[in-house]
Symmetry: C2
DNA sequence: CAGCATCCTCTACGATACTG
DNA sequence: CAGTATCGTAGAGGATGCTG
């Protein structure tokens, strides 16, 4: 079976959609060290609101990347844990994070330079417009 | 310098934001084989509108991941090409794509199962509500 | 050819408040 | 503790048409 990421119908795009989620990748990486409670996650993934955390967790559960375990006790306790499938995502994610840590500074520099050039061009094109 | 992806101020998050872009990763991967013209990209990355393609390209250029070269001729010709920095992103991206190709089917299966269970639960909770 | 302008929709994300 | 409910916003993405 041919999987072509360029085909709009290719399910592989689902993965990039999930990775694209601002919070999903962070949650996954926090869960690397083992099961975590809702409040643990909420504390470690700064700064996420409970609504968004819930939504993120549900999506990841739906995709089979983590499990949700409810303990019948008071006060309630819910554990979230990566599934084997979820754990396999850790590797490529880590590669991405390492790239990020190594290269963001260069990216930010490029960004600043670009914006500056942009401003200069804008200023030049409007020179004399104030007087 | 400490880079912590969990810190909301950590610039590393910028990378995940860029990766998260629905189109950016696709464009980068298409550019692996060398410079491409606007219309080339438009044709290969199905199905992207010119507006969105332009926006994506600009963002990537701003971040120093690709260069934009205008040829002064008629009809106009503009080439987009990955920078060395952009090319280094290819590796982690490929890792992600391979993960996707290998595991999406399992993800989709999990998703279907989850949705089915959800439906069943919903149906059960509303049993008798119609009569 | 390589785009820009305009209008529109949809949803991710956030702030705040409340509950079993 | 682990959420849900409600309201609100910004921006991503799309459809269509026009231009140097």
């Amino acid at each position: 079976m041919e999987t072509n990421i360029l085909d709009p119908n290719c399910p592989s795009r689902l993965v990039f959609q999930r990775i694209g989620d601002k919070w999903a990748t962070l949650v996954i990486q926090v869960l690397e060290d083992g099961p975590q409670r809702f409040s643990d996650l909420r504390g470690k993934v700064a700064v996420i609101t409970p609504k968004v955390l819930t939504h993120t967790l549900r999506s990841l559960e739906r995709d089979g990347l983590l499990t949700r375990t409810v303990f019948a006790q008071v006060p309630p306790r819910v554990d979230y844990e990566l599934t084997p499938l979820g754990r396999t995502l850790l590797e490529p994610l880590k590669a991405l994070r390492h790239w990020a840590e190594a290269n963001v500074s260069e990216m930010v520099l490029a960004r600043d330079a670009f914006d500056e050039a942009q401003d200069a061009a804008l200023l030049a094109s409007s020179k004399g417009s104030f007087e």
